[in-house]
Symmetry: C2
Subunit: 335 residues, 2 copies
């Protein structure tokens, strides 16, 4: 049995930089036709110059033209209209991080007040640049995303022309927001479709499934599954694949992030088949994203087959999700 995916896209991807970039970029570029590349490097991408340089490093790491890196800027509240008009030639979106909320977010935004963000939001609205948001407060870990919901609502109503993408949503509450506000969209990761807090801290502690936002309750996962499997028109796949060296995951004070890029399509095919909706995977991993972002990705056919895939224990020094486990679907070839 085969499954052909046309131009699968990963709409939330961390490629990092330097040595790590060289390890992970080819893994994404093999499976996917393109992806939204996160700008939270150690020095965040806030200028066209650094963006263009980073894109070149990404392209060099990939080595061919079979993957389109869709670049993003790190949100700043003082971007001008003129700057963004020029930046728009190079970027697909701008990513907003609240201050200190996740890896490399110390330069994030401290105030979520509309007035403090208006200048950039208005320019983005006029220029039709999507806003991507890591939507968490600094409250109690299980409540952070829900608490951020009122911020999403304010953004959505105050800037009705702004396309707002709630990144890596993890709660039923966020799912419910999709149908309340026309200009709210969402990406969903592989791991949040598969795990709950039980898998992180229910038995033994599992650092490789520790991520931000943290996996939530069973009813939250059910809500995510319902919109992903039936492909709600406002959701799309974004892996949030976030590699860290094994040493940083398995030591005390484990870094947040699950590395899923190289096994994402195999695992998604497994999940969608299990729920009897394999035919919906194309829309979840590509068609919805094309429509929401209004773009045409490069043509690429990824052929999966029903053949056991043994996930490597390591990709160099990075432990992937399902390390050492078998998945029933493999990638047969890419055309």
């Amino acid at each position: 049995m085969e499954l052909v995916l046309n131009s699968p896209l990963d709409m939330h991807l961390h490629l990092r930089d330097a040595d790590m970039l060289k390890i992970v970029a080819p893994l994404s570029s093999y499976s996917f036709a393109g992806g939204i590349i996160m700008p939270n490097l150690v020095s965040p991408i806030t200028s066209i110059e650094t963006l263009v340089e980073y894109k070149q490093r990404v392209k060099d790491a990939i080595g061919d033209d079979n993957f389109e890196p869709l670049m993003t800027l790190f949100f700043k509240s003082d971007y001008t209209y003129d700057f963004l008009k020029e930046a728009k030639k190079y970027i697909s979106a701008i990513k907003l991080y609240p201050f200190g909320i996740t890896t490399n977010s110390k330069d994030g935004v401290s105030s979520m007040k509309i007035e403090d963000l208006r200048q950039t939001f208005e320019a983005m609205s006029e220029l039709n640049i999507p806003l991507l948001v890591h939507g968490e407060t600094n409250g109690f870990v299980m409540d952070r995303e829900k608490e951020f919901g009122s911020v999403y609502e304010q953004f959505a109503t105050s800037f009705p022309k702004l396309k707002i993408i709630m990144e890596h949503i993890t709660t039923k509450h966020s799912v419910d927001l999709l149908d309340k506000y026309e200009n709210l969209y969402a990406t969903i990761t592989l791991h949040h479709l598969l795990i709950t807090l039980d898998d992180v801290a229910g038995g033994a502690l599992n650092p490789h499934l520790f991520c931000k936002p943290i996996a939530k309750r069973p009813e939250d996962r059910e809500a995510l599954l319902s919109v992903a499997l039936l492909v709600h028109p406002k959701v799309m796949f974004g892996s949030d694949s976030a590699p860290h060296p094994m040493s940083k995951k398995e030591s005390c004070g484990c870094a947040a992030g699950v590395f899923t890029a190289p096994i994402a399509l195999q695992a998604l095919a497994t999940l969608f088949e299990k729920h009897g909706v394999l035919e919906n995977l194309q829309a979840f991993v590509s068609d919805n994203a094309k429509r929401i972002y209004n773009f045409t990705p490069i043509k690429k056919k990824v052929v999966l087959e029903k053949k056991l895939f043994t996930t490597p224990v390591l990709y160099k020094n990075i432990v992937p999700m399902f390390a050492g486990s078998e998945l029933p679907w493999s990638i047969k070839n890419v055309r």
Copy 2:
């Protein structure tokens, strides 16, 4: 400033066995006058012979008579009245573990049905042997204790003469049960008074604060604090101090348990002083336990003083809570 604690007691303590026992027993016996010793060794304590042998190993590890190990049996549903009548000479309580719920609980009870437990419960009621319970289901990690609540209610109403101690409670729901059923009591740990899930998995992952039951929500901690600080007559201190070698805590699949025994009194004094109820600590760490268990501990005065205590980074190969941090209270001497 000094604080004299008369015969402080640790009513839930893991002393382990062999080398680990030799490390941790003297630490508890220095600070405390006695403690309820958990029976979940690799081979659980289910006979008088193994109990007597274990008690001797505990006494040997302590090396003097300044600490009274209050022994417990591992609950089995087929204990006979005659066996328990004899066992009562050696034990202070019996500890019930649901199957597979925590460290060394693979021999725990599979069914929580009253009829399956009646034989042992009736004998314990008649012999006035307290029942200690690790009250968790195998449900979602944040719900396990609350889900177990209905089991506590069934036990309490079906065996009104049985003294039931809900061990290491972590939720507001459990706190509320104390006032609903006359025969329900509770122990509370130090760490559950101090942390929430935020401290385990909110920032970085902290294996040294990973324990079962897992730390819950802020409102749960508030409920625990309210009954501990004001010393509800049905609660008492039980550290659930649960040492594991550092290698088992800091590696992938981290073992559950927080090691608090050697710093418990210093940290409790700090907590009670911070809340302006230092005078209540005596009742929480001793008087309530004496009354609930109806026993007279050995006489021992533990004198604390307001002097910085730097918590060791390691006790041999075990990382304690507050490792390397300073606490404002130290133990001055023990008389």
